[in-house]
């Protein structure tokens, strides 16, 4: 009996103890991630700051993707079309909607591509804001330059938004809240003032550090000036709210008499920053046009602001996938993007730059062996596309400006993508001079300078007009993501072209289309955002 009493007591006590113990502790529910970092415990060392800077740069890769700023700026123009090929590339009609400019605030292309432009740019801005904010309370070597790079990239992301949508909400802190849109003019001024503020803190070149080589792909004074030059030439478009309020959808939008920082005329300002680049001694035109796009184009002396790509998983450029036929590369490309016949034919047959397009009988670009189509016929690309809604696999000239990288890892090629290169700076300077600015050389001389390598047999260009400049930009900058912007500036964006004509929709399209619609999802997320007029 005594033994029973003892065991019962021990058992009872044990149970009581177990019951009571948890009440003391074990209500702690604090959460500390174990495989990710929170901003509060980061940004203490140079390595950590550089890692955050790399993250801001990494956002650039998306801007040149097919369903992003690059795709929207190309497929909505006469440079590019993505024909429906049987069951391929219908994709909810998004590609033809973009090409025919039949988008609306809630249409499939807006909800995907245009929404991506918005989110990608703002994600980059958010990344920059985190770093810029953290830099206020830490000290690292090269701090001013690093902050300059972060603020440049932030300004560039805002520039993409301003170009696509007009004025946008501006945030320079990490606070998450709904903000109203700034006017397009204030957005322009914000970007301009940021660029001017950081320019002194950036080097002309990054070649002098032991860590990094000569063409490192980091932001320089030249990149700042190139972006400014582009903004100034587009100043009438960028500083006005839309068609009907300062922008003409059908005539040239000149930079003349648009005032920018310091009360300067925008055309003159464009010439001045272009001259800073030209005279910096850092850049010169590459001997061959193709040097700017080849897999080793990091050595091109012409590229000013590039997205660095590397032949490594997730870090590469995949332009070959978008345009080449299934049997021309491994992994199998998508046989999608082509140029219009009218665009191909616009090139002078003697213009070496026309070789950026693949036409006629094709080879596998890796092996050089003849390629076949899916039926086993020799693969032939034709310049015509008989019916854009039911094209065949060989129709359409293909863009092959950035050739395949022999060291590619799956679809990742190492070709860098230049947002700005010296040739464009010459073209901007020429255009600003033609508009009425004062420069050191004539527009004709500048154009001939750029065209020299394209016409080794002699250039016949004898006069320059706005039309000539727009055509020259089509030849020189084709597929470089500039066409939508150029057509808007030259009053030609809503005009008719192949597959965007009276049979498929009212054409010319409404003037309001010089601004893209704000995707409805973004208005849902931020009630302070108002839609662009006309949508």
């Amino acid at each position: 009996m005594k033994r029973l009493f003892v065991t019962t007591s021990i058992g009872g006590l044990g149970l009581c103890a177990l019951l009571l113990v948890p009440l003391q502790g074990c209500t702690d529910l604090n959460e500390t991630p174990i495989s990710s970092i929170t901003p509060s415990n980061f940004f203490h060392t140079e390595g950590e700051v550089l890692a955050a800077l790399a993250g801001v740069y990494a956002g650039l890769r998306n801007t040149a993707s097919e369903g992003e700023y690059w795709g929207v700026s190309e497929v909505s123009t006469d440079e590019m079309v993505v024909p429906t090929r049987g069951s391929d590339w219908y994709d909810n009609g998004t590609w033809l909607e973009t090409h025919r400019q039949t988008w609306s605030a809630n249409s499939p292309a807006t909800l995907s591509f245009v929404n991506n432009v918005w989110n990608t740019a703002y994600a980059g801005i958010a990344r920059a804001n985190v770093l810029v904010e953290a830099l206020q309370s830490t000290t690292v070597p090269n701090q001013a330059a690093i902050e300059g790079e972060a603020r440049f990239l932030r300004a560039f992301y805002y520039y993409l938004l301003m170009d696509t949508f007009g004025g946008v909400p501006i945030a320079t802190t990490t606070e998450l809240k709904a903000r109203a849109r700034a006017t397009r003019d204030s957005t322009f001024k914000f970007i301009e003032s940021e660029l001017l503020a950081i320019r002194p803190n950036l080097p002309k070149q990054w070649g002098d550090t032991t860590l990094l080589g000569t063409k490192v792909g980091r932001i320089t004074k030249g990149a700042v000036n190139a972006l400014l030059a582009n903004m100034y030439i587009n100043a009438r478009v960028f500083k006005n709210e839309g068609a009907g309020s300062g922008i003409s959808a059908t005539t040239y939008n000149t930079c003349l008499s648009v005032l920018v920082s310091g009360g300067k005329d925008a055309c003159q300002a464009a010439i001045d920053v272009a001259d800073s680049i030209i005279n910096s001694g850092v850049y010169q035109l590459a001997p061959a046009f193709t040097d700017n796009f080849s897999p080793d184009n990091a050595t091109s002396p012409e590229n000013i602001f590039v997205i660095k790509f590397a032949a490594a998983d997730g870090l590469g450029f995949n332009m070959v996938m978008r345009t080449l036929h299934y049997n021309q590369f491994t992994p199998s490309p998508w046989n999608g993007f082509a140029t219009l016949e009218q665009t191909y034919n616009a090139f002078d047959p003697l213009d070496r730059r026309r070789k950026m397009f693949l036409v006629d009988t094709q080879v596998n670009v890796e092996t050089g062996r003849p390629a076949t189509d899916r039926k086993g016929n020799p693969l032939v690309f034709t310049t015509t596309i008989a019916n854009v809604t039911s094209a065949t696999e060989g129709e359409g000239a293909r863009i092959y400006k950035w050739p395949a990288d022999p060291k590619h890892v799956q679809q990742n090629n190492g070709n860098d993508f230049a947002w700005f290169r010296l040739a464009e700076i010459y073209l901007i300077k020429a255009e600003a001079e033609l508009a009425g600015g004062t420069g050191s050389s004539t527009p004709l001389a500048l154009l001939r300078l750029v065209r020299a390598r394209a016409f080794p047999g002699g250039d016949t260009l004898s006069a320059v007009t706005n039309g000539v400049i727009l055509r020259e930009r089509l030849f020189e900058l084709n597929s470089e993501g500039k066409r939508r912007q150029d057509l808007i500036r030259h009053g030609a964006f809503t005009a008719c072209w192949q597959f965007k004509d009276v049979t498929t929709g009212t054409c010319p399209r409404p003037a309001a289309l010089v601004l893209m619609p704000i995707p409805q999802t973004q208005i849902d997320a931020n009630a302070l955002i108002t839609q662009n007029p006309g949508y």
Partner: protein, 1063 residues
Amino acid sequence: MRLVRHLVPALVAGLFWAVPLSAQQTTGSVTGKVVDASTQQPLANVEVAIAGTPYRELTRADGNFTLNGVPAGAQRLRATRIGYGSQIQEIAVTPGGTTTAQISLAPAAAILEPVVVTGYGTQRREAITGSVSTVSAAAANVGVVTNVDQMIQARAAGVEVTRNNGEPGAGVQVLIRGGSSISNSNEPLYVVDGVPIYNEPTEPPGYAAAGTPPLPRNPLNLLNPSDIASITILKDASATAIYGSRAANGVILVETKKGTATGGPSIEYDSYVAAASPAKYLNLVSAGDYKNFVAQQVPIFIADTIACPHTAPGGKIDPNCFNSARGLDPKIQSQLGSANTDWYRAVTRTAVTHNHDLSFSGGSEDTRYRASLNYMNQQGVSLANGLERIQGRLTATHKALNDRMRLGVNVTTSRVNNRYILFENRAGFEGGVFQNAANLDPTQAVNVNDSTYYEPGGNSLRNPVALANQVTDLGRTTRTLANGTAEIDLVPGLTGQVTVGLDYSAGGRDIYFPIASPLGRTLGNGLARVYSQDNQTKTVQTLLTYRRQLGESHSLDVVGGYEYSKFTKNVAMGQGIGFVTDALKYNALDAAGTLRDSTDASESRLVSFLSRANYGYRDRFFVTGVLRYDGSSKFAEGHKWALFPGLSASWHLTQGGVVRGPFSDLRVRVGWGRQGNPGIQPYNSLATLVGGTGATYPWSDVPQAGVIPHNVGNPNLKWEQTTQYNGAVDFGLMNNRLAGSIEYYVKNTSDLLLEVPVPQPAASGTRIENVGKLRNRGLEVTLDALLASRPGLTWRTGVVFALERSAVLDLGPHQFLRSGIVSGQGQSDQWAQRILAPDSITGKTYPLGTFYGPLFLGVDPTTGFQVFACSAAPGHTANCVNGRTTTRGGPAAADYQVIGNANPDFTIGLHNQVNWGKFDVSFLLRASVGQDVFNNTALVWSTKSNALQVKNFLAPALTDGTDLHEPAIYSSRWVESASFLRLQNITVEYALDLPFLTNSARSARLYVSADNLFVITGYSGLDPEVSSLNESDPTDVGLVARGIDYLSYPRPRTFTGGLRVAF
């Protein structure tokens, strides 16, 4: 909050002290006999108990029983047995005397356990006030059953179980009373032997070489169905509230078999062999028809090209003209082979399954045990695919200290080896086995010669037989579920219990795409991946239970407790690309050209205080109140804790004679409660930075590792809450030969956890926020009837009927969210469904699973273009003429409309069990009526333009009038009515009476069984029953998509033969 946190347990504890300890009483004995009311045969194993006391006993084989030491005075004697209605007799026990009682029990319509596991304890069936369904494990374990989810299909009203596909051990979607969440988990909570388990996938994902990787298999495959004693499903909020924050989607309680002392030790052996083959095959164009089709199209091409000018250099045909010719190139015709291959049949097979269960159990009055061993090897009906399980279970209970202390241990450990094949749930450009089977030219043979597979050579076409055989994808899970319980009677009526549970799973995945496969070459000359994942859950539970009969009329049953769970997950992945040989597979990653590896870890905790009180008055009225206070680490500071109450009551109208007439039993129940859904991943409330490829940038071509803000964080993130009202009537007629219940519920979910766009700039486009409201309403009817009950023949039949309507009441700022990505070539950015907010003008609401797209009007017979409805309103389709448009101009976004509803009007399950002499026959019929399914397979493979790419297509397309070059466009054309009636299972069992067996064995039974014997449906696809995936795709974050059928793994028809022997 801290006060409340400690108040609940304090109140619970206070209750106990308020009850005075009972005084000493004099005692007497009760003896008697229990017989079957219809046959007058004695009944064994009837529990005879004095209501409200611990005095209870089981009847012996002759039906007799004796209860000693019963307190003197007026007592209520209750007799209960499975399959019989319970019986209560008023008796008077004299001090020191013996009272006799004769009891006859009437067979009931349904075989129901009289005591039901209800979470943190058990309750008498009569005392339950909430909505609880029980499934007889014995009746449900027929045919090839791999896991517990298959056992509840169509056997409980309002529980919708859909297998993802026909793979062995496939994952399932279980919806109890509809889903309560849009982007959150809709999985119910599983509780095994009292310990809640996290039903996360235990194996890492596959490699997405063919669109999305194969879906994870069911984590519950670790439990052998033969070890399951009972399954209880808690459906309404008052019943599930005891599980609080995890209960919004219902709770499935699984109790495993325990050892018994009665009848001495026993050994059981159960074995079956099954053969399965696909129930239906894809109706692809045959080789002969394909050749004829090509032959028809070639002249069109020739006619087109003959007119082409010869303007190219060298007098060659103008390529522009040639390229745009209609029809099919003669080249295609010349390349056709001479074989006749049905590629879909080539990748499927007749699959064999064998299963062996061995168990033994026994014990003494104090110590009981049961041990079991299971081996199962199930082949899939597709090549090179299957499941193997080796599982052992041990359970033991021990009573000590004069029965005042009870100890229990349950250990289940299992190893599941999964062989996966590459198949697509949603396909990208590269296809898996089934996509290629649908694509491949039927005129080609599988093998070029004995050692070489035919390969089409194109970069996106592969021989599916080769893919299945060459790609290795092995998953494995070793999982142990263990728990130990100690229970002690502290004072009469008051019991304390401590349970410690551990759920540990070590999962792994070994994948190799060999160089020998063209896909393996494309991926970079061989790709190997080794992946491991450890999940671990630790649970501590302490409970105090107080059960007391207060006087004659009042019974009280109170549970209070504390529970702590900690969940950790660790994954590690290594990947190598570029090998020189296939010999090493995934076993020597360092031989690869490029290596990549990654690790990840997460942890979360859940802390709960819980209490439940059930009060009964004379078995007429019962009231149950539940309070649970839960805290989860996953939510934001200040929002971690939430209170989940439940209240329900029942009134037995037949007790006390309120209602007479035809009813032998009539009861009304009402309940209300609120629960939560914490199914989000940890750390969603925090702003975090992550590294990885997306953050890396190659300055000077040297990749610099970076970090980027990953998660926006939401400092207001809190519980998604579901409030549910339940009203029910339970009835019995003709002495309970007909019994049933009718239930109506309304389930309102608010603060929906939705992945929504956030104001930019933000680190990510979306974050999880609490916005939106969802309402489910439904009616459930259960009917059970004893159709025959006489010596030699018993026939029980049961019907479960459910109808449910969901409505999205609020989506926050959104008009709609897109869901249900359409798969296939040319289908990027196409979504099949929309989650629609109520119409702002009419107020009309829409259910989850609403198909949204263009309305198909027909095919223009002259052009072969598809024609869709359009509206000529400004900004809409420009070439909309008379409300009709074709793909040449649209259909525009503004022309999209509601084109279907994936939800059934109602579902019915009908189960029957007939015992006739030595035969037992059971069958289960299942019907689902009124739902639409989007036949994504038909959308993609009804396009004859596949032939332009030398691909096959579905036979009906040969005659559908659509032009050869017409693209595949999602529209109402492909949304079909998918009502069906399925014979889920039929089993015939025969009791063997062979002398050499009966001499040693207690029983020996032979059975044959057929699963999925027939489906009656108008649906044209493989199977009308398709999973509703919450896909783990970043573009489709968990949004509910229902009723999309894309090349799913074929569902088998299975025939099984088995033997059960007990010694």
